[in-house]
């Protein structure tokens, strides 16, 4: 996803990069809504000097990239949570073992009372 084709290649000479300004505007629009309506799209395209289709496709791609980033972040958060839960779990396990022993001891003490 992060591999970039260099902007200058024989077969890709028709490609242009959007300007920083264009990208800034697009990003801003994206921040408010990840999907853009037709009307707004046309308007934005006009403002930016782009074809509506270009704007549409940019949004498409942006959603895909954004979704991936989100997933990466969620994954790492979940992993942290998992690790901490796991260590708490181990603590609890040991606690249980010692409690178990205590139960047994108490029980047998009770038994011994009737000797």
């Amino acid at each position: 996803m992060n591999t970039t084709s260099s902007s200058v290649k024989k077969k890709m000479k028709n490609k242009i990069r959007f300007s920083d300004e264009q990208i800034r505007c697009l990003e801003t629009m994206f921040d408010s809504e990840t999907k853009i309506e037709s009307k707004k799209k046309v308007q934005l395209a006009r403002e930016l000097g782009l074809q509506p289709r270009q704007v549409a496709i940019w949004f498409q791609n942006k959603r895909a990239r954004w979704k991936s980033k989100l997933l990466e972040r969620d994954y790492s958060i979940l992993m942290d949570n998992y690790k901490s839960l796991a260590s708490r779990f181990e603590v609890l396990k040991k606690e249980k073992q010692s409690l178990l022993v205590q139960v047994i001891i108490q029980f047998y003490s009770l038994l011994n009372r009737h000797v």
């Binding site: 028709n14 496709i57 791609n61 998992y82 001891i105």
Partner: protein
């Protein structure tokens, strides 16, 4: 999560998900696929796009189904492309080498995302499972704690209480851990008494010194034989089992406290004739553990932690001959 498919026409370019070929199944699929179509049409990270009017018809031509199939097959074998393979493939399929390269690039990106989705799902399942076990364990401990309290108070009472120790054997079958990424390990318990509730104090994962114990509380009144049992708990890390041996009037099979692998089984029954208190200890414990390949959270504790610090490593308990 969005399903991926080659349902719409341009989706054939990606041929991402072989399991969906429904032409009419556009609704769920097309968003993701379309986004990658766009990628394939030549956008890079920064939104580089072909000039609006100026693209050649040839560039826009979709790959045929056969071409995609061949590419996919190739991708399965090896997802990175060397120059020679690229050229060869391009020739075979009647494509430009560049097209093949770009296809592989996008395909790898696509695969990475899918892989992340899979990893996330596995992790989520593991987490939920662990959480469930954690909650259960917590409840177990609370129950044990109250059990201890009640036993202690009983100890301080003047009145007699009948204590019947019934020791039963029980089989616990641990499933073997496989190497697969996502697996479930479930330990099953057989209940001995119909009306009994049991506290299953079973821990996960037998490989590192797990102690399991079942404490049964029998609701039935005085139905048990009184058993003498002399119980010897011997912690010996070398021997796989220590024995709680019982010499009884009835037939009580040997019980084992297996500190290495596993199981101790005792039935505790309390019947206080005065207050008619019957202990109610119940927990259903289901250790489900789905493994993630890079993580192994099985406990490292050795048997030596089974006994808390102020306990002697070897305990000898004897029950009197005729205490009933």
């Amino acid at each position: 999560m969005k399903r991926l498919g080659s349902s719409d026409s341009l989706g054939a370019l990606m041929s991402i998900c072989p399991n969906t070929t429904d032409e009419h199944n556009q609704g769920n699929n097309h968003v993701y696929t379309r986004e990658f179509q766009a990628l394939l049409e030549g956008l890079d990270e920064e939104g580089c796009v072909e000039e609006s009017g100026g693209h050649m018809a040839e560039k826009k031509r979709r790959l045929s189904v056969d071409q995609v199939k061949a590419l996919e097959k190739n991708f399965e074998v090896e997802n990175k492309l060397e120059p020679e393979r690229k050229v060869k493939l391009a020739q075979e399929l009647g494509l430009q080498p560049r097209q093949v390269a770009v296809w592989f690039q996008n395909r790898r990106a696509r695969w990475k995302t899918k892989q992340l989705e899979r990893d996330y799902a596995v992790l989520k399942a593991n987490f939920d499972s662990l959480k469930h076990n954690y909650e259960t364990l917590k409840l177990d401990n609370e129950t044990l704690l109250s059990e201890i309290g009640e036993l202690k108070s009983k100890l301080n009472e003047d009145g007699k209480s009948e204590c019947i120790l019934r020791v039963k054997e029980e089989t616990i079958v641990p499933e073997t851990d496989e190497k697969s990424k996502a697996e479930t390990t479930v330990n099953s318990l057989t209940k001995c008494d119909i009306d009994s509730t049991h506290l299953n104090l079973e821990n996960l994962n037998g490989t590192n010194g797990v102690i399991s114990a079942s404490v049964f509380t029998d609701f039935k009144d005085g139905s048990s034989d009184s058993t003498d049992s002399s119980a010897i708990l011997n912690e010996d890390n070398n021997s796989p089992t220590a024995a709680i041996s019982s010499s009884t009037g009835g037939v009580s099979p040997h019980q084992f406290l297996d500190l290495q692998n596993g199981t101790m089984d005792c039935t505790f029954q309390f019947k206080d004739p005065k207050a008619n208190i019957i202990r109610d200890v119940h927990k259903a414990y289901q250790p489900q553990f789905v493994k993630i390949e890079e993580h192994n959270f099985s406990g490292e504790e050795s048997c030596s932690t089974f006994f808390s610090d102020d306990q002697a490593p070897t305990l000898h308990w004897y029950c009197p001959e005729d205490w009933n």
